[in-house]
């Protein structure tokens, strides 16, 4: 799969973890900072919670690669991709 679709897949996997919680009024629509802010307000979630901190970190990492050159991307993508996988596990633990 190409790097672009890999990044979309990483977002999909993280959103799947969040949106499997059935007690939420609104689903998390994306991993942009503004989509996360909306989800926090709509569901009255504590913005200082571990879940929110992890989500913001993942968001920053996902969008970090957007303007990197192809030469830089391979190595950095591997690194960020593995960090996101670890953060996804942290998210699962934080949700419980």
């Amino acid at each position: 799969m190409d790097e672009f679709n890999n990044r979309m897949e990483a977002q999909r996997n993280v959103l799947e973890v969040i949106n499997r919680q059935l007690d939420k009024k609104e689903e998390l629509c994306g991993l942009s900072k503004k989509a996360i802010e909306r989800w926090i307000v709509a569901n009255q979630i504590n913005s200082e919670s571990e879940i929110c901190k992890i989500l913001y970190t993942i968001s920053e990492k996902l969008f970090f690669l957007a303007n990197k050159s192809q030469e830089q991307i391979s190595e950095e993508y591997r690194m960020v991709s593995s960090e996101i996988s670890e953060l996804k596990l942290d998210l699962e633990k934080a949700i419980g």
Partner: protein
Amino acid sequence: MHIYAFGSVCRGDIDTESDIDLLSIVDGYDDRFDSSTYSIYSYNRLMELWKEGNPFAWHLATEAKIIYSSNGKDFIKDLGEPKEYIKCKQDCIKFFNLYCKAVDSISSGGNSVIFEMSSIFLAVRNFATCYLLGQHKIGNFSRRSALQMNKKSIQISNDTYRILERSRVLCIRGTGKIINRNEFENSWDEIISIKNWMENLLDEVIENG
């Protein structure tokens, strides 16, 4: 440092949901720019995009209007015309795959429907833009490019297109009304039919090399 406006505000193609697309060009990291407000690029990366003939380079070359320049020069204007766009086939396949993956995810009971609908919108718009630029040398960077292809336009209703567009705004800007179950169900058959439109255009792209 350079700052540009681009997108709908420069095309005059605005509606109540239009935002203002801003581009900042910097050397290295600059913490004054929030990535949720600006598309942030380095000078080198933009030069690379110009050399690749990347659609985003064509987008900027066609529309970007300078707002601020720290050296009095118009960096984008001075880059001239980007190289010819040659990755049309590769990009169309990429966005076709994105569409297929999003539809598969919804069909198999995925729980992030709005994100998937947003991905479908992204796939459709970018597919149309890449097809027009690669096959017809037409630079159409509008959110509605897929509806502006004359006989080759996507055959879905305005209501369905609008639902996909709203999903994209929810995913990126976090604004607008959540898509409800009825809206989703009423648009689903048309969303599935998009595959035929993409396949037909992709056949043409592959045939033309």
